[in-house]
Each structure stands twice: as C-alpha cells, then as structure tokens.
C-alpha cells in the first residue's frame, strides 16, 4: 500500500480520502489551496528584536493569520482580540471564523503555509496527535515560561488553573492551550425558583423533592437532551464520583474490572437517576428531544432542571428570556458521599495551537501569551459568556451574565474539589455504549442493574483496546 512513511503527505491524504470515495471534497479544497498558496512561503518568518516586553521577538507591522472555530462561542471574542493585538503591535490581522477546520486547514498544513494561531475545535477539528506526530505543532513551553502580562514578576504558567498544562501536553511537550474552562452540572432559572419559593437542592432527596413540586405545579422536573445521552451521563458519572470519591472516577478511567459491577457507589448513582424516571418526574417527551429542543423547553419554564456544561448560557442566548436569571448548580449529593456538594466536574477545552511552520511564529506565541492576560480573558468572558483557564481571569468590576457569574461563584466555592473524567476522550466506543445504555434507562426499558452490567461490559471491552496500556491515570 506504500503508505508506511513517517509523514502524512499529500499523496497519503488523497489516497486516504479516496478510500471511501470522499475524493471530491478534499481535492476541491486542495486545488483552491494550491491556487492561493505560495505567496507566504517565499517570505522568511518575520522577526523583531527580542526584549523583556517582547520575549518572542514580534516584528512591528507584520502580518497575523488567525483561524478560529466558530461554534458555541461565536468568533466575536477573537475579532476583539485581533483588534487589540493589531493596536499594540502594529500588525495586520486576517481573521477566519469557520466550522470546517479540517477542510480549510489540512491542505495548508500539508502545503507548509499554515496560519499563525488556530483554535482547533469542533466536530471537524484536526486530530491533535496526528499534527503532533507530523511535527506541525510549535512547542508552547516558552509561553509558559515568559513573564505574565498582568504581573511581570510572575511566569505565565503560574497564572493558570491546575490541569491546563497536563491537558495540553503531548509526548512531554506543551503544544495546545485548552483555553475555555468548563464546569458541568445542573442549571435552573433563578426567576422560576424565586417565584415558586423553591430552594436550590444540595442533596439528591431535596433534588427529587423540587422535581416533585415542579410536577405538582404542572411542569416537568428534569429535562435532559435525550437524543444525546451524553448529557444524562454527566449526571450519572458525577453522582458516582461524588459518592465514591476520586477513586471511583479513576476506576472507570482505568477500566478496572469493578469500575461499575460490584461498585456500590455506581449502583446507588444509577438508581438515584432512575428514581426520577420511576417517579415520572421527567419533562414529558424529553427522552427524544435534541439539545436545542430540550434546552429551549427549559428556557420556556417547562422544566425545573437541565444538565449541561457552562457553554449552555451562550448556546441559548437567543432563546433565554431577559429575566430568566440562569443559575448553575453542582450535581446534588447522595447520602454518605465522599466529595462535598460543592465539588464539580471541571475541565479545559477549546485547544489553541501555533503551527510550527507559521509564517509569523513569534506573533503566534505572543498572541497566546496575550490570551492569558486578564484583559483578554475578560474580553472572552464577556463576548463568549464562558470562563477561561486564567486564574481569577475576569476583572471583578466587569458585569457578567448571570449564568457565567454563578459558574464563577461555584468554581470559587469548589476550590480544589474539582474532578474530570478522561474515558470519554480515551475510549469513544465505551463512551458510546454507556450512552446507549443510559438512553434505555431513561426510557424505562432497562433497570439500573442492567445498566451496570452493560456499562461494565463496555469497560471490559475497552480494556482490550491497544491504547489501554498507555492511558492510565493515578
């Protein structure tokens, strides 16, 4: 087959794509890339004098080429950043906000004229490990060791929330900055709760009680994005982690034989979620709704709670009534839980990279450093209604939307009590199998014990994955 070389060359790209008859799409962008390329590659990289304020040597009056994924966060924040960058460095930025990262960039990476900064996200992101193995990613460690823009006596690495560097590291190198800090849990309307006189629950029993009250009032208790069981899995898994502690979470990520079966915390968690189904506290029809449909129903006060990550507020911006007062709620705890109610699942996402062959690599690095300043972090929080990995990265004087503000508060309350699952990234097949089981559970077609059985079977199957040897956490 002649494709055992190191690189992921043009020939291979075409051959691969052709394998499933998908030839037309890659070739089209391929041709257009050839037509427009060439101009940048003839010029050497711009380089200015290195100084304390300019640690990477950005050339004044250079060019910046920024490509961002235009998804749930939009791309207004990036435009604001570019304007700030151009103002400071006298550069001219070209901006591209797109959902087709692979389509637009794969040929540019292959042609050796990639952009200077890329937000490599969304369904069509380029797989990071592939880019890394083909030496396409610049090492961002110099950014971590550069002085912070807010406080030059500090290094950038000391201003980041824990876990950011680990998450962006491939083969011992820090190559991607996962910029958006996401917290997961339940969400409710502050206005609705005030009107009805409900208090946000801290234990699962209280949670069920509020759901029951909602049902009495003619609403649904819990809405969930039934067509995508990913969301209800957040609830199940968070309950397991809180009840059984971090050990229970790691047992799942590490594919242990008793991750679910014989794990009392897991059974208790699944039974707790099933209680919502059994007591008929779900929003009618929610099991088959898409994420937008169910979230919109929740925005229309048809249900008390919905599970989601902190992108929810921005995603629902247009559907949310002005006085809705969106509020975050950590997943309530079961009796005898090892983690406190305040503990939340939190993780960094939205990886930004600087290509190794970027024409203006110093500019790219400086751009990343600027992103980690409080000024840019605040811009992001305001424009994209989400948190960043910069510790206390939002100006206290700035007014955030209620949901984002409540997430900031919850994150402060959680302190070091944050946790995050990794199996979803490591074992897609296992993740999908567990999602299928959850869908059956919510539709009352299987019982909690059967769910446990199926989840454990998925774990056991994943344990045979060749990656299982490398993917371990402690």
């Amino acid at each position: 087959m002649g494709s055992t070389g190191e690189g992921f060359g043009r020939r291979d790209l075409i051959k691969r794509s052709a394998a499933l008859g998908l030839i037309s799409v890659p070739t089209m962008s391929f041709l257009s890339a050839c037509a427009s390329g060439g101009e940048d590659t003839t010029k050497g990289p711009d380089k200015g004098a290195v100084s304390k304020e300019n640690p990477f040597g950005v050339a004044k009056g250079g060019k910046m080429d920024v490509v961002v994924f235009k998804g749930g966060f939009g791309d207004d924040y990036a435009k604001a950043w570019e304007a700030a960058f151009d103002k400071k460095w006298g550069t001219t930025s070209s901006h591209l906000g797109t959902q087709e990262i692979t389509g637009k960039l794969q040929t540019r990476f292959n042609g050796g004229n990639p952009p200077d900064v890329v937000d490599n996200s969304g369904a069509q992101k380029i797989k990071l490990d592939v880019l890394f193995k083909s030496n396409q990613l610049a090492d961002l460690t110099p950014v971590l060791d550069a002085p912070s823009l807010d406080d030059p006596s500090k290094k950038v690495r000391d201003t980041l929330i824990a876990g950011t560097i680990e998450q962006g590291t491939q083969g011992g190198k820090f190559v991607s900055l996962n910029y958006v800090y996401t917290v997961y849990g339940f969400w409710y309307s502050g206005k609705l709760f005030k009107e009805k006189g409900w208090t946000p629950p801290k234990t699962w029993d209280e949670f069920l009680a509020v759901c029951a009250k909602a049902k009495e009032a003619g609403l649904g208790g819990l809405a969930h994005q039934g067509k995508y069981p990913y969301y209800i899995n957040v609830v199940i898994m968070d309950l397991i982690a809180k009840k059984g502690g971090l050990e229970a979470m790691k047992a799942i990520d590490n594919l242990e034989p008793n991750a679910f079966e014989g794990n009392a915390a897991a059974l208790a968690a699944v039974e707790a979620v099933y209680e919502v189904v059994e007591k008929d506290l779900l929003l009618p029809g929610t099991n088959g709704l898409t994420h937008t449909e169910s979230q919109t129903a929740w925005n229309q006060y048809k249900a008390a709670f919905i599970p989601s990550g902190s992108w929810l507020e921005n995603e629902q911006l247009k559907q949310t009534p002005d006085d809705f007062d969106m509020q975050f709620l950590p997943v309530p705890v079961l009796a005898d839980s090892k983690l406190p109610f305040e503990a939340i699942r939190a993780g960094a996402g939205e990886p930004f990279i600087v290509p190794e062959k970027a024409a203006n690599k110093p500019g790219g690095l400086e751009f990343i450093r600027s992103m980690l300043s409080r000024e840019w972090s605040t811009i992001f929080a305001q424009q994209a209604n989400s948190l960043t990995v910069v510790r206390d990265g939002v100006d206290p004087g700035v007014k955030l939307r209620p949901g984002t503000q409540s997430a900031v508060t919850a994150l402060k309350a959680a302190g070091t009590n944050t946790f995050n699952y990794l199996y979803t990234d490591w074992y897609s097949e296992m993740d999908t199998a567990i999602q299928d089981a959850s869908n059956e559970l919510m539709a009352k077609r299987i019982q909690p014990k059967e769910w446990i059985k199926r989840a454990q079977a998925a774990v056991n199957k994943a344990a045979q994955d060749p990656n299982a040897k490398n993917n371990r956490r402690s």
Binding site: E6, K15, A19, I23, L283, G288, S428, T432, R445
Partner: protein, 314 residues
C-alpha cells in the same frame, strides 16, 4: 488499404475520446474500491499513516458483530418494504391519474383534477433529504410540540404526560423512517410511471374498455405488463436506496451517526461511519464497505434476473 488506414485513424480518434473518461473512471471509481479492499485487511485507524496487515481478522470480527448483523437485518427489511410499498403506491396513483377516470363515454383519462395531483405528488421529490429530516423531525418530535403527538393529544388518543417517543421507540423507529422514504419517493415514481403509461397507445385501452374490462382488469392485464421495464428499473433504484439510508438514519435518530435507540434503526452505512470516523477502526469499516458493495451488486443482479420477462412490443 486506404480503408484500413481510415479505419485505424477512426479507432485512434474514438480511443482518444474514450481513454480520458476511462482513466478518470479508473482513478476515481475503481481505484478507491480497490484501495478499500486493501485497507479492509489492515488495522488502519484512519488517523495515522501506519498500519499492520491483519489478514481476514476484520471479516471474521464482522461475522460476530451483533450491531452490524442487526444493521444488515434492518437493511434487508427496508430492502423488502421500500421498493414494494413505494412502487405499489406509485403505480396505483399513476394509474388513477392517467387511466383511472371514467368520465366521458369511451374516453381514457385520469380522475378529476389529475393534473393538479401530478404536480402535488412531485413536490416531495424537490426537497433534499436534509430538509426532509428536519421536516419529519418536527412531525415525530417526542413532546406535544410534535405534529403527530400534538394531533393525537388533541384527539385524546395519547396522554399529554406520556407522548409517543416515535424515533425513540425501538418498535416504531424503523417504520417511521420507512414512511419518510416512501413519502419522498412515491412522487418521483408516479411521474416516471405516468410517462410510461402515456406512451402506451390509447387504442389498447379503448379496446379493453370496449371489451368491458374494469379498472382492475385494465390495470393488471394491460398497464402493468406494458410498464414492466420501468417497474424493474425502479425496483433496482429503490433497492439501492434501501441499502444506503445513511442520511436519514444518521440525522433523524439518536446515537453517533444515528442508529438509535440502542441500535434499533441501525443500517450498515451508519455502523460503517461510526467505526470509520469515531471509533478509529477504519480498517474494520473498510471491511464493512466491501461487504456492502458485494451485497448491493448481488442485489442488482438478482433483481434484474428475477424480474426478467418477455418484452412486449407496441
């Protein structure tokens, strides 16, 4: 002598025109198939340029894969029902629109308003499958906001608190999808059959009419035999569509690339795509692709053979 030279020149001329398309066909149609076949014997992940040869492992794993077998079964079900239901309905409507009327004495014509029906029937064909998925997503919506549920709840047939979760019901999901395909296809085949019917000389119908043939007799003794070629072609086309179904299933049902709930609406193409793009088992997915290709080819041959009849000249 000169005859030979001229002949050669002509051959070269024609070959020149044939070579380029042939080369394109070989490169972009045949070569990918060959490649897929090659990849189906490897453990290629789709994300790395390196892979190992694993022999027929993928194929033997495929035999044991319950999800794929379920998908194959669903494809076969659709293969029976999609062409049968679509063609029967299309034939019925086409006959009614073209020759079902009994208005004037001796005249062969469609039922009243048949021109209007023809246009309306063709409408669904204009819509792309993506729009269709959105449209029927609203029809099958699982809460009372869905068209079907809304109507049924109004009529008091369905409990407001427990609406029918159409596409989330293992027993219903495949039939719901079947309905969409049939709804989409009938109009096109109606127009196709109409055109075929109109090319049938009117005097044959008039003769049948004079001999006292009823609608049913006219249809089965005259129309259907004369339309057999079109019906046969339609069966092959619809059969191929039933073997695919990817767009509808992947957009309308739950799961990564559709197939939910719990694999009850799975078709081979959705299992293939999930393995290819999501599970990183591209070699395995290529094996599925080869199986699909072989099945579709067998299917076409069988359909054409089984439906072969003596041609009627008119």
């Amino acid at each position: 002598m000169s005859q030979v030279v001229r002949g050669r020149g002509r051959t070269g001329f024609i070959a020149g025109f044939l070579l380029a398309p042939l080369a394109l066909y070989l490169t972009f149609v045949i070569w990918p198939y060959v490649q897929t076949f090659g990849y189906s014997f490897t453990n290629w992940t789709g994300q790395s340029p390196t892979f190992d040869f694993v022999g027929v492992d993928n194929y033997s794993a495929l035999m044991k894969d319950e999800v794929f077998r379920g998908a194959l079964w669903n494809n076969l079900l659709l293969l029976v029902f999609v062409p049968a239901v679509t063609i029967l309905l299309a034939l019925f409507f086409a006959f009614m629109v073209n020759a079902g009327g009994r208005g004037g004495a001796g005249g062969v014509q469609g039922v009243a308003g048949s021109r209007f029906y023809k246009i309306v029937y063709f409408f669904p064909q204009v819509l792309s499958l993506a729009i269709l998925a959105v449209l029927f997503g609203a029809v099958y919506r699982t809460d009372e906001g869905g068209l079907l549920n809304g109507v049924l709840i109004r009529l008091g047939i369905v409990d407001r608190m427990h609406p029918i979760e159409w596409l989330n019901e293992p027993r219903l999901v495949l039939w719901c999808l079947l309905l969409v395909v049939v709804w989409h296809g009938v109009g096109f085949y109606l127009v196709l059959f109409s055109a075929a019917m109109q090319s049938v000389p009117k005097d044959i119908y008039e003769a049948a009419l004079l001999d006292g043939a009823g609608r049913a007799q006219t249809f089965f003794r005259v129309t259907l035999p004369l339309l057999w070629d079109s019906v046969q072609t339609s069966a092959v086309y619809l059969g191929i569509a039933a073997m695919d179904m990817f767009v509808l299933v992947s957009t309308m049902t739950s799961g990564q690339f559709g197939g939910g709930p719990d694999h009850h609406s799975e078709v081979m193409a959705t299992v293939l795509m999930r393995n290819f793009l999501y599970f990183g088992k591209s070699g395995y997915a290529c094996a599925m692709g080869v199986v699909m290709l072989v099945l579709t080819m067998i299917l076409s041959v069988i359909t054409l053979r089984a439906t072969r009849r003596e041609r009627i000249e008119f």
